[in-house]
């Protein structure tokens, strides 16, 4: 079916989904611009933000942390999984400056880091992988024994040990991959534990050695940049050109595995690192680290925050909220009225060390007395499923921003309710928010870096997005694509609940043996006896004394014999291993479904983000234009591959019922008799009703 569809599609058609962006988006942009200029441009409130995707290169793989040089807004840093990149031109172009995977050049001691990985692998091999390997081996043995008998099955399974072991390891890594989308270390760890990993393994996997959790630029020394990563704490003292690993995340040291957050004061002399094994601090510029005294244990520290007071640091761990007044040498716990376990982030006002904010699952709380007492900020308007990172702009300390899973909320100084600032967001996960001294906001998300625009630019962008909505209306919704993908891979019709029920009733059904026998027997007997006068002579009339003759013949009709036997296995009635197999299968299928759905949705949102980025009107060189077209085409092809061509097929089915803006303009052209300006545009990417390029 797939082949037939492919053969039936012209080369132009396969590019339709992506190419329509090259043409209609540009056309729509211009048209929207014209509309906006000619109409009322104040459709948005002046304070409303619109997010514009400005990702290029490595940034398109996702941005988990953003930082801006306080002395020069043009110098920016963005980090994602395995990289830190720097821009010298306000985000127009980016260069990677630190690579945590695949490049030894940027790493100070790459061998040491590799050792950490090798050790992690050996630990998996000892426990979870071994368990999976044994599980797989048992299943295989069972199947082979059914097929070939136990003796042969045993030999075959032994011969496949290495292969199975490897498969088990990759199966484990696949599971880890599913959690890549979760940025927060603690959430990752919890999900891994829920998925069945042992505590230690979950801790190792969640720490993700190539994750960059936080970037910090020192306000008083802008050349100093710190990157808290899964491999440890990196520092650059030359605006991110060269990096030094100052705190190694080694599994065999007490320093823990991975730095989640960093706070720095006294121009870099005092460094406090929140690691997955508690807090570490240095008072000699990172030459040596030690654990602080006090009540802070060795549990993961989600966040560390330096303040304007050089000696005061705040730390947020799983157990509580802590403060240090002596430059991180000693931490004491702040008694809070809320459950700290639910607190996701901590922020401190840039100009007041007593102003502390924390975000919990549904609330933002504020303290103006150094954390001694907290009161909740208004909750109206905060309708996100979970709140995460907080941000207080340096340029406007009266405002506060908090990130939801896929939303941004802001609260002004006198406002009683939060404003959702999610215009332009397309469902990507929000990881990090940062702003420069001018108040320009930048958002790190799962699809890359987004810039907040306001005013007329925002209005133009919103108008453009409205136009894009018309095109998106023809594309199938993500839920439908996921359903199509599950159906294509035959993962939708696996109803394990029904199987459990049927399996139970099947135990009551007997085995039946019916035997039928049809027997036909013909037996003839002819017997004669003669008494003779003269033995040896023939039995003639003279010689015959008496004669008897009888003929017996019976068994002419066939006889039918039948019997029926039925028997039950009463042991199975009480317990049947099939039920366990169904349960194991249910988990396996659920994982497969989840993995596929996760991939499809991630790809879908990435594709839309790229569409929106291309439609934003940024002019590209020819090669970049072709590359972008190919990137879109590749994403479309991937969605088609996952969904068995549903994405393209549904688009063509829906688009045939929609009336495009070009059609309206074409009609007007016909009325006024003008040259076909819009046909020129249309011919560059859109197809006619027959699917041919116009």
């Amino acid at each position: 079916m797939l082949m037939a569809t492919a053969n039936g599609r012209r080369p132009e058609e396969k590019r339709a989904l992506s190419c329509r962006w090259s043409t209609t988006s540009l056309g729509l942009l211009a048209f929207s611009l014209l509309c906006v200029l000619c109409s009322n441009p104040t459709a948005l409130q002046a304070a409303d933000l619109v997010w514009l995707d400005v990702s290029t290169g490595a940034l398109t793989s996702g941005v988990t942390a953003v930082a801006i040089a306080p002395d020069d807004p043009a110098v920016m840093y963005a980090a994602g999984r395995s990289y830190v990149a720097r821009s010298d031109d306000g985000g127009a172009t980016w260069q990677p400056t630190l690579l945590l995977a695949g490049s030894a050049a940027a790493l100070e001691d790459d061998d040491a880091l590799d050792e950490v990985d090798a050790q992690d692998v050996s630990r998996f091999d000892d426990s979870e992988t071994l368990f999976r390997f044994e599980e797989m081996r048992d299943q295989l043995y069972e199947e082979l024994a059914d097929e070939y008998g136990e003796e042969l099955a045993e030999e075959m399974v032994l011969g496949m040990d290495d292969q199975l072991r490897e498969e088990a390891y990759w199966s484990l890594l696949d599971d880890v991959g599913e959690y890549e989308g979760e940025f927060d270390y603690v959430s990752r760890k919890q999900r891994l534990q829920e998925a069945g990993f042992a505590d230690e393994e979950a801790e190792l996997l969640a720490a993700d050695p190539v994750a960059v959790w936080e970037l910090v630029v020192l306000p008083e020394a802008p050349a100093h940049v710190y990157a808290a990563t899964g491999r440890g704490l990196y520092r650059s003292i030359d605006y991110g050109k060269r990096w030094q690993l100052i705190l190694r995340a080694s599994a065999d040291t007490e320093h823990g595995r991975g730095v989640l957050s960093v706070g720095v004061s006294q121009q870099g002399k005092r460094i406090v690192a929140g690691t997955v094994r508690g807090l570490m601090y240095s008072d000699d510029g990172g030459r040596s680290f030690s654990q602080p005294l006090g009540e802070l244990g060795s549990r993961p520290v989600r966040k560390v925050h330096a303040t304007i007071d050089e000696n005061r640091f705040y730390a947020l761990s799983l157990d509580g909220l802590f403060v240090s007044e002596d430059g991180a040498a000693t931490f004491s716990e702040l008694r809070t009225s809320f459950d700290v376990e639910n607190v996701r982030d901590l922020a401190v006002l840039p100009d007041d060390a007593d102003g502390v904010l924390v975000s919990s699952a549904r609330l933002v709380l504020q303290s103006l007395d150094g954390g001694q007492s907290f009161e909740a900020l208004p909750s109206a308007g905060l309708d996100a499923s979970g709140l995460g990172r907080l941000h207080i702009p340096v340029s406007d300390t009266g405002s506060v921003y908090v990130l939801g899973d896929t939303d941004v909320f802001s609260l002004g100084p006198q406002e009683k309710s939060w404003q959702r600032q999610s215009n332009g967001l397309l469902g990507q996960q929000c990881f990090s928010l940062s702003s420069d001294s001018d108040g320009q906001l930048w958002l790190g998300s799962s699809t890359g870096l987004l810039q907040a625009v306001q005013g007329e630019k925002a209005a133009v962008q919103m108008e453009l997005l409205k136009q894009l909505q018309q095109i998106w209306a023809a594309e199938p919704e993500p839920g439908k694509v996921v359903r199509a993908a599950l159906a294509f891979h035959r993962l939708d019709s696996i109803d394990t609940e029904a199987w459990v029920s049927r399996e139970f009733w099947s135990r009551w059904a007997p085995r039946v043996d019916v035997r039928l026998s049809i027997r036909q027997e013909r037996r003839e007997h002819e017997g004669s006896s003669h008494l003779l006068f003269t033995p040896g002579e023939p039995a003639t009339v003279d010689n015959l004394l008496t004669q008897n003759r009888d003929i017996q013949l019976y068994g002419r009709d066939p006889n039918l014999i039948w019997n029926v036997m039925a028997w039950w296995d009463f042991g199975e009635l009480l317990s049947d291993s099939t039920e366990l197999l169904i349960n194991s299968l249910r988990i396996q299928v659920y994982k497969a479904q989840k993995r596929l759905a996760f991939k499809v949705i991630k790809l879908y949102i990435k594709r839309r983000a790229l569409q929106a980025q291309l439609a934003s009107g940024k002019k590209h060189k020819l090669k970049a234009q072709v590359t972008n077209l190919l990137k879109l085409e590749e994403m479309t092809a991937m969605l088609d591959a996952y969904s068995g061509n549903y994405f393209t097929t549904a688009y063509h089915a829906a688009s045939s019922h929609l009336r495009s803006p070009q059609a309206d303009l074409r009609e007007e052209r016909e009325i006024v008799g003008l040259p076909p300006i819009f046909l020129v545009n249309q011919s560059l990417g859109m197809l006619d009703e027959g699917g041919n390029r116009q």
């Binding site: 190419c19 199987w499 026998s517 003839e524 004394l545 197999l581 299968l585 092809a637 591959a641 819009f678």
Partner: protein, 209 residues
């Protein structure tokens, strides 16, 4: 009035569109050079078939599992035919004390037996008719195949576009020296070979045609 407004709107659009249109047309021209090569959808389908990962296979397995136990688990038929002819001829002489023959007794029996038996034995496992455990194996295989299929399709799509990008790079930025040209050409050949490996040399055959 309306007519004038439309004309002015269209004129403004023409001014705005013209550079974009010409620009996009160039991009299209660059890409159209490769229109004769197999489409990515075709390559995906061939790779999937070559790896034996078509989802339709699973449908067949489920159908087989569903009907497999309607038919008996065991069907045995035995036929036995026995044809037996027996003839007994007995001659007894009656003798007196002197040994003289007084008379004789002759008995002759002719038996002709024919036996024909049709035995049919049918055995059903009604529990497997209610629920066939093979369904579990099929579902497990479906989940495993989905993962493999996903891998194959992802790999083949990435290779396809990696190759296309390499081709376009060579087209738009022709290498200045022989070494670079060779390196670029080798890269394309390597990616073509990768695609061949995944499609059973179908890709090269199509590109050659």
């Amino acid at each position: 009035m309306r007519r004038h407004r439309i004309i002015s709107t269209l004129f403004a659009c023409a001014v705005l569109f013209a550079p974009a249109a010409l620009f996009a047309q160039s991009a299209q021209e660059v890409l159209s050079k490769y229109d004769k090569e197999p489409t990515v959808t075709e390559v995906q389908a061939v790779a999937m078939a070559y790896a034996g990962l078509e989802p339709e296979r699973i449908d067949g397995w489920y159908s087989s599992a569903a009907v497999a136990n309607i038919v008996p688990k065991r069907l045995e038929y035995r036929f036995r035919f026995r044809d037996e002819d027996k003839e007994l001829d007995r001659l007894d002489d009656d003798l007196n004390n002197l040994g003289a023959v007084l008379g004789g007794d002759r008995r002759r029996d002719v038996n002709n037996n024919q036996q024909m038996e049709h035995n049919v034995r049918v055995e059903w496992d009604l529990s497997e008719l209610v629920f066939n455990p093979d369904t579990l194996r099929t579902a497990r295989e479906a989940a495993r195949m989905a993962k493999q299929r996903e891998d194959v399709l992802t790999t083949v799509t990435k290779l396809y576009y990696e190759r296309r990008r390499a081709q376009i790079d060579m087209q738009l930025n022709p290498p200045s020296d022989v070494a670079d040209a060779l390196r670029a050409e080798l890269r394309i050949q390597e990616l073509t070979a990768d695609l061949d490996a995944l499609t059973g040399f179908w890709f090269s055959a199509q590109v050659g045609n």
